[in-house]
Assembly symmetry: C2
Homo-oligomer: 370 residues x 2
């Protein structure tokens, strides 16, 4: 069979901690958060284009039009719209089932890569993906392990095992872990055996569906039924019937963890910079600080001429309403200015933005801003 590598981009997630830029109507992946001129979704596409034979995006119906607009090279057939979020296994499983149905004569490897991560060193990323595809062709569920930059408690960890002979850079996965407490995270780092799990999975579509048949037969059955109808006039009818009943489960729990336990998962240690841009503090660290002049040490995401920053090193200003933003003498401040809502906080408090969004959700006027 003709080999083919399809990049699958699940474009979901609210990015609540990046409010008020990230909204339900325009979540994180639709924004340029690095000042590169490309949104996170577009940057994901650009990064995968050199290694993938084709790409497919799975997103919510509410965002399908925006995704299509941002990715003019994406064929309409390769934009799969989910009626509602059913977690990552349903999204990736749908892609696998649809692609398998569409390409019966090809040996399709799929690789899932979130639409809202930032990766530096695209070449090292591409190298890791190529190795993962090799491992997938050897019937592994392959993942890419991110080199930890600290004992983060925000991510699950992957414990590396023996090298896999014949495929340079491939290791067995001993186990996946849940997000650890700080002490455990520090222990993990001390061993040198652990990598962060960024949800990148590369696997033959057929291998994935076989694991799913065995481990989540009801979900597999539902996805197969939907895939069979996808390119027909019955798509919406079948979706309406089957989708709400699909098991909500992450691919990590459905496939990666149980298959790792029986030696079926491999990992490629990635040697590229990676960030999931979890909150405004993470974003501030990603952006280059201006040096010299009055805004010394501060970051601007957007048009610098809209800002006037004095004595605020470590601060992040996002001028996104067209108004002039003046920041004076507040180191590490975070100021996000949008046409209908303004956030002022500090990098230290940035992870609490989620609480604020919850509070806004509780009143009618506030809910309009989410």
């Amino acid at each position: 069979m003709q080999p083919m590598f399809y990049a699958v981009i699940p474009a979901g997630g609210a990015g609540t901690r990046l409010w008020p830029l990230s909204r339900r109507s325009a979540p994180k992946f639709l924004h340029d958060l690095t000042g590169s001129g490309r949104t996170l979704l577009q940057a994901t596409w650009d990064r995968l284009a050199p290694v993938a034979d084709a790409q497919l995006v799975v997103t919510g119906t509410a965002h399908a039009a925006a995704v299509a607009e941002q990715l003019p090279a994406l064929p309409a057939a390769d934009l799969l719209a989910e009626p509602s979020p059913r977690d990552s296994m349903a999204a990736i499983g749908l892609a696998a089932a649809v692609l398998t149905a569409r390409h019966p004569d090809q040996d399709v490897v799929i690789g899932s890569f979130a639409a809202d991560h930032v990766i530096t060193d695209a070449e090292a990323f591409a190298d890791a993906v190529r190795t993962a595809v090799e491992l997938a062709r050897a019937d592994y569920v392959a993942t890419i392990g991110i080199a930890p930059t600290g004992p983060s408690t925000a991510f699950g960890y992957i414990r590396l095992g023996e090298e896999i002979s014949g495929i340079a850079g491939g290791h067995q996965v001993r186990s996946f872990t849940e997000k650890p407490d700080p002490a455990t995270a520090a222990d993990y780092l001390a061993t040198g055996e652990y990598r962060w799990n960024a949800g990148m999975f590369v696997v033959r579509a057929q291998v994935l569906l076989d694991h799913l048949d065995r481990l989540q037969p009801a979900l597999a059955e539902g996805l197969r039924t939907i895939a069979a109808a996808w390119d027909t006039g019955q798509q919406q009818e079948v979706l309406a019937q089957e989708w709400p009943a699909l098991t909500r489960i992450a691919i990590d729990h459905a496939i990666a963890e149980p298959v790792a336990a029986t030696g079926g998962v491999a990992v490629v240690p990635g040697e590229f910079g990676w960030d999931d841009v979890g909150d405004w503090a993470c974003l501030a660290e990603l952006l280059p600080a201006s040096s010299g002049g009055s805004g010394d040490g501060a970051r601007v995401l957007g048009e610098p001429s809209l800002t006037l920053i004095e004595d605020s090193p470590g601060a992040l200003v996002v001028p996104h309403s067209g108004r002039r933003v003046v920041l004076l003498g507040l180191p590490d401040a975070v100021v996000v200015d949008t046409p209908d809502a303004l956030l002022v906080t500090s990098t230290e408090q940035a992870q609490r933005v989620k609480e604020v969004v919850s509070a806004l959700a509780d009143d009618q006027d506030g809910a309009d801003l989410l």
Copy 2:
């Protein structure tokens, strides 16, 4: 002659340190800075109404319409528009000269009270003004001395002398001082003999003009020429000719200091709260802090429902654009949100807003925001 007390309100001053609320086009005195529902100008009017027989406002031509709109009870004839700022002596001298010309058969006492100060305890203020009027009728230049709340270096000080017999509450003024350095200010306070100079001067119009004739004859002559033409068809013509040539000098230097040296100035120690709302930090202290709930200890000038404040005691939020303002975990922050410009700073840095305004003045786009 029939006695008459005319309150004269010089409505000028840019209030630069209260940018971006205070603008050239709408300076400090045109704003409600206390959340009372009345602007500083209106509150000044309200405070003087019970003690004055009439009131007169001197303002720049650019603000005359706004003043008239805010003070519907002010007769058009009692709104004097200056073609350009020539400092306080010209403004108050003009009022004295115009009122003397208009009321030749009345013994007019005038009292000058800035349009942009905040005074608490209107009754104690009225008492002090009445005593000052009594002193003025005895031919003193009378002032009201503010009880210092600390060794401020932002104000000039008045040194009290002997009590004046026959007028309870009146003291001789030994001298006026320039704004002192911190050590000198502390020394002043330790003596108990010093009061702040808030520029409140109460004096018979004729006494003021006589002092002016003697001390600033050219200015006196110019003002008399203008006053003679004021209520005629020649007002604008004479103003255009005479006004630009008037000496720029403060009433303190022109009259108060030299007259004090010869024993002609009296002071009434005021027992009311006073604030010139010099910057956002001062304003924050004037406003009541919310207590309890998530905004505990923070102040809002404007509509509280537009704000969401968490863990920011001592902060001041001014939601003035209609947008939602969220402040999270930044004690003592100052956030002033207007439709075209946003200021984020701290109460500690608030006096530096002036620098920012200077920086904005240097670029074309910024100058539009001043």
